[in-house]
């Protein structure tokens, strides 16, 4: 091989001129090729030949040029050797920052090109000489070259000469490429002190992220394999709880997942951590991560008074909302003070959002501020302030509402049995409007019942036992209501129980789970029931829904199941499995229960897999069942079982702390 030691000294002379020359020659070649040699003969070839540049290459000396000592320096066409021997490299052909030697160095063969990596071949260039040079083809070409000089471009194979020259130039340029200047480095990604995922969990994450983009299968028929996309949220939550960080190589897939599914964002971004945000800052597609919840990673800590102040005064709206939420969670009083400091200057829609963040950590300490907000210019702000105040039963606002409600709803002592009588308000006066009541009902509702509903909803539930002679919520709900007001009144109590998170009233309004929904004491709306259930403790919720499912089956249970804590507590899981079994025996198809099935896959305790095992068998087809249903059910149960197993495996992988941290600290 050629080495730098053989780099010849001669070309050290006039390297600057070489560079200009070679660039000019290449430009000329390109122009000639572009326009056609007929129209524009490559004059440089002739000119170069006249100046004797090619002469050296075409005749003996060129072939035996001392610097071409290595074997394998080849090139069937020798004519160009001399022509491009001076480094014919066009800047226009170079890559964005790949520079050719004639650009970075003072010449192809110049001794000053002594940087690392500039070795013989790239200097002398392959294709300069070779067997072809001595071959007959070359002598022929050499002859044409001579013809060029001699006869002035007539009767010559100009295209061949041009291509010869261009070929040598091209190989030379490629062989002599040098790196370009480095751009300024990126900022280093911030350090993430969390521990890395155990190996098993890493593989699981890759699998879940790879399965995320799977197209949802045709309706009804989902096969026996688990739906991986549905398991990703659980996995993320669990991994975050255990304090793991995402493996760097998985960050792009994780950010893509969060981009596609907003419900994944908070957990995915938390797992991605500071390096995820660093990465998102480089790719406009992931800009979402820098907004809203994503920006939480860059918020100053709530204790950093100066940083909080600065961001609150100068931050973007989303950053300020996130900041207020963070401060409020840390110290409710400080959050309120922060908001109050700039309250009058905020825009109406911003005020609404900020006010909403007070919902977290709401206490009597907020009453004064909310009371003031009742006089706000914006009606939506007033309504929200009223809603928040009504969740504070001890507030003056609640007292006013209790007074108003008591004048409308009372016990009719004249009736034979105790009955609730209702006298809806006749007007919605200024004071009522000042307390957030909306005077105009939506289309289709009477004014008076609309006002009544709002009053009862905003009144503290604690005022009713006194109003009804010390009766318990159950007893009050059981009382008959005069003049068809029952529906209106109970619905308003439901809203109040949800808003005030009152478990005893919720319990009373839900009634016994076994009572058919349509004839229950409180509400028959499943959506309202689900909301009421959410105010009960988790185990009581599970027991209530289990009893409901046992009594009424699954067809109405979907919303109720959705508010139960995951994984489902024992009585609930068993009840759902039994109900599915019953539904199968009754001859329905599994896709009638696809919603519940999907929930069960995500929410059943993994231990339930054992109970389900027997159901995956393919039953014999009986006459009275729906055709093929047995096979579909077996498939659905298989999927349920395999999903539960997968979840169990996920948990196990994320729990193997011994190995994960052991290797981390050991090495």
């Amino acid at each position: 091989m050629n080495t730098r030691a053989t780099t010849p000294a001669p070309s050290a002379t006039g390297s600057e001129g070489d560079r200009d020359d070679s660039a000019r020659v290449w430009e000329e070649l390109v122009t000639s090729a572009l326009l056609g040699t007929d129209r524009r003969p490559p004059s440089v070839l002739a000119a170069a030949t006249v100046t004797g540049v090619t002469g050296k290459g075409m005749t003996g000396p060129g072939v035996t040029d001392p610097n071409v000592t290595g074997p394998g320096v080849t090139g069937p066409s020798g004519t160009g050797a001399g022509v491009t021997g001076r480094g014919m490299t066009g800047p226009s052909t170079t890559g964005p920052s790949l520079t050719s030697p004639s650009v970075t160095g003072p010449g192809v063969t110049g001794p000053s090109v002594t940087g690392p990596g500039v070795t013989g071949p790239s200097v002398t260039g392959p294709g300069v000489t070779g067997p072809g040079v001595t071959g007959p083809g070359v002598t022929g070409l050499g002859g044409t070259g001579a013809g060029v000089t001699g006869t002035g471009l007539t009767g010559v194979d100009l295209p061949g000469v041009l291509l010869d020259a261009a070929a040598v130039h091209t190989v030379r340029r490629r062989a002599g490429l040098r790196p370009g200047p480095a751009a300024p480095p990126l900022d280093l990604a911030p350090d993430d002190p969390r521990r890395p995922l155990p190996a098993g969990a890493r593989r699981r994450l890759d699998q879940l992220l790879a399965g995320r983009a799977a197209p949802s299968p045709a309706a009804g028929r989902r096969g026996a394999a688990p739906d991986l996309a549905e398991l990703l949220p659980q996995w993320l939550t669990l991994a975050n709880e255990r304090g793991y960080k995402a493996p760097p190589a998985a960050l792009p897939a994780l950010l893509d997942a969060a981009r596609a599914r907003t419900d994944l964002r908070p957990q995915a971004l938390r797992l991605a951590g500071p390096r995820g945000l660093w990465l998102a800052g480089l790719n406009p597609e992931w800009r979402f991560a820098l907004r809203g919840t994503g920006a939480a990673g860059r918020l100053p800590s709530p204790g950093d008074a100066e940083g909080v102040r600065l961001l609150w005064d100068e931050g973007l709206f989303a950053e300020r909302v996130a900041l207020l939420a963070a401060v409020r969670t840390e110290d409710a009083g400080a959050g309120l003070a922060l908001l109050a400091s700039t309250w009058p200057a905020e825009r109406a829609e911003d005020r609404l959002m900020f006010l909403d963040s007070l919902r977290a950590g709401l206490s009597d300490a907020d009453e004064e501020f909310l009371e003031a907000a009742l006089a706000d210019r914006s009606r939506n702000v007033r309504a929200t302030a009223a809603e928040l105040l009504s969740a504070l039963p001890a507030s003056a606002f609640a007292g006013r509402m209790a007074g108003r409600a008591a004048t409308c709803v009372g016990l009719d002592r004249t009736a034979e049995t105790p009955t609730i009588s209702v006298e809806a308000p006749h007007e919605c006066d200024a004071a009522m409007q000042g307390d957030g009541l909306v005077p105009t009902p939506p289309a289709g509702r009477g004014e008076r019942s609309w006002w009544l509903g709002q009053l009862v909803e905003a009144a503290p539930l604690s005022c009713w036992p006194a109003r009804f002679g010390g009766r318990t919520p159950e007893e009050i709900v059981a009382l008959p209501v005069a003049d068809d007001w029952q529906g209106e009144l109970h619905a308003a109590w439901c809203r109040a129980a949800v808003r005030q998170r009152d478990a005893s009233w919720s319990r009373a309004l839900l009634g016994a789970p076994a009572i058919p929904p349509a004839t229950g004491p409180g509400t028959s709306s499943l959506a309202e029931r689900a909301q009421l259930l959410a105010t009960l403790p988790a185990d009581e919720r599970a027991r209530w829904v289990a009893a409901f499912v046992a009594a009424h089956g699954l067809s109405e249970a979907f919303q109720l199941l959705g508010v139960c804590a995951v994984p489902w507590a024992e009585p609930l899981g068993a009840a759902v499995i039994d109900a599915l079994d019953i539904a199968r025996d009754a001859g329905s198809y599994p896709w009638s229960f696809s919603g519940v099935m999907g929930l069960a896959e995500r929410c059943l305790a993994p231990e339930a897999a054992r109970q389900l095992e027997s159901l995956t068998a393919l039953p014999d087809e009986e006459e009275d069942t729906a055709p093929g249903a047995g096979g579909y059910w077996s498939e659905a149960f298989q999927r349920l079982v395999s999903t539960l197993r997968l979840r169990a495996a996920m948990h196990a992988e994320l729990t193997e702390t011994g190995t994960g941290t052991g290797t981390g600290t050991g090495s």
């Binding site: 069937p76 964005p96 010869d164 261009a166 070929a167 394999a225 991986l228």
Partner: protein, 448 residues
């Protein structure tokens, strides 16, 4: 060295998938619920997958090949069942128990083992081709060479016409002219020339500076024509390179190299006719880099699939000529349970130097496999580049690599800090294919 028991990782298994759809389908099947009768042992895994509609498929994977067989009618290779089975085997230590192959798996495995036991390259088999009729074979070769020569001359004529008329006309002529010339080269049995011509046809109007690129490629095609026409006067090695470039397959007749091979990268490129799979391997003790090529008809996955990042013990037989990188895999690859470390490498300047040196053996090379050490991905105005950690010199990424998802894996893995990257370095820039971070140097992160 009991390599039979080595489990593959899910990453490695997923890297075997012929396409994204199989990867997803395989992921869904990688759970215990759908499998029965699973077992593993003697370097193989088997199981019965409950397919949709009550059908079930027997799947067997020989990990030493790797080779797959499945009762399903899928034409993908490996099929989703084989992938699912491997994922199950990879993810869950308890799901697949040790055992002896059942009767539906035994014969196939036994046959594969038998073939592996047989001498890998008996001297006698070489004669099978030669015995046919050496005289006829020689005549066939001569006829083909004559056709290619005619083709090369015709191509020379077309290039000369193009130069006379000017490249500016090439843009107006459109793609049809090139297609026709390419078809003529196919008729001349010179697929290498045909491929070059097709690429020439794609250059006109392909963005700023296309006339320069077209002139460069025309000139190199001209160089190849001339080299072919003078092939008998070239040194043997270079002549072999020229023949391979023109499209005559060089025989894999080098001495087989046995080593622990690290699978660096595997990726497919497809055109209307053919899917080409490239697998880069690095021999950890020989220091040799090898390229395995495998082909599939359009839309079908090529047969060869190796898990990226795995260390495999086996033989590769190099081809002669062209760059001397291409090799044929031996019959048998056994996973090795040994720590993996990236190939040695250097700064970006050295990578370009290596490409330049390689050009002296094969001036038609578009790129050369290199490993960059201590490089950092950074962003210049024109796009991403890999810069030396000292911040002086940098290699731009190729335009294609700028838009791949793998770029972001590279950036994420780096976090702004230096790392080791393997890829192809050429005149268009650098294509990153695999990377290793200093924190986990044993883990090969595929970038494509």
């Amino acid at each position: 060295m009991n390599a039979m028991g080595v489990r593959w990782t899910a990453d490695q298994v997923l890297a075997l998938a012929p396409d994204e759809a199989s990867r997803r389908a395989g992921s869904r099947l990688g759970t215990a619920g759908v499998w029965s009768g699973t077992g593993c042992g003697d370097g193989a895994v088997w199981g019965v997958c409950a397919g949709s509609g009550g059908r079930s498929y027997e799947t067997v994977v020989d990990l030493t090949g790797p080779a797959y067989t499945c009762a399903c009618p899928s034409r993908k290779f490996p099929c989703k069942h084989a992938l699912g089975l491997l994922l199950l085997h990879a993810s869950d230590g308890t799901a697949v128990a040790e055992g002896t192959p059942p009767e539906w798996a035994g014969p196939w495995l036994a046959k594969r083992r038998e073939r592996a036991e047989a001498p890998s390259r008996p001297a006698g088999t070489g004669a099978s081709g030669a015995t046919a009729d050496p005289e006829a074979a020689r005549r066939r070769a001569e006829r083909r060479a004559a056709r290619i020569t005619a083709g090369a001359q015709e191509l020379e004529q077309r290039l000369a016409d193009l130069m006379r008329g000017g490249l500016a006309t090439a843009e107006q002529a459109g793609y049809g002219l090139w297609e026709e010339t390419a078809a003529r080269m196919v008729d001349a049995q010179a697929p290498g020339l045909a491929g070059r011509v097709r690429e020439l046809g794609a250059i006109p109007g392909s963005g700023p500076g296309w006339p320069v690129r077209l002139l460069e490629e025309c000139a190199l095609t001209h160089l190849l024509d001339r080299a072919w026409l003078a092939a008998d006067r070239l040194p043997a090695d270079f002549a072999a390179t020229v023949r391979t470039r023109v499209g005559l397959t060089a025989p894999a007749d080098g001495a087989p190299v046995r080593d622990h091979w690290l699978v660096l990268a595997q990726y497919d490129t497809a055109d209307a006719r053919l899917t080409t799979r490239r697998v880069w391997m690095y021999g950890t003790s020989t220091g040799r880099t090898a390229l395995l090529l495998s082909f599939g008809a359009a839309g079908r996955a090529p047969g060869l699939a190796l898990p990226v990042g795995a260390l495999l013990d086996g033989e590769l037989t190099p081809h002669s000529g062209a760059g001397r990188l291409r090799a044929e895999p031996g019959e048998h690859f056994v996973p090795v349970d040994a720590p993996v470390s990236p190939p040695p490498g250097g700064p970006v300047g050295e990578a370009l130097g290596a490409y330049g040196r390689a050009l002296s053996d094969d001036p038609w090379l578009d790129s050369w496999p290199v490993t960059l050490r201590q490089v950092v991905p950074t962003r210049a105005e024109y796009g991403w580049q890999l810069a030396d950690a000292d911040g002086r010199e940098a290699l731009p990424l190729t335009p294609a690599a700028q838009n791949r998802p793998g770029l972001w894996r590279l950036v994420a893995l780096s976090g702004g800090a230096p790392l080791t990257v393997f890829g192809e370095c050429g005149h268009r820039g650098f294509t990153p294919l695999a990377a290793w971070s200093p924190e986990a140097p044993a883990e090969t992160v595929p970038l494509i």
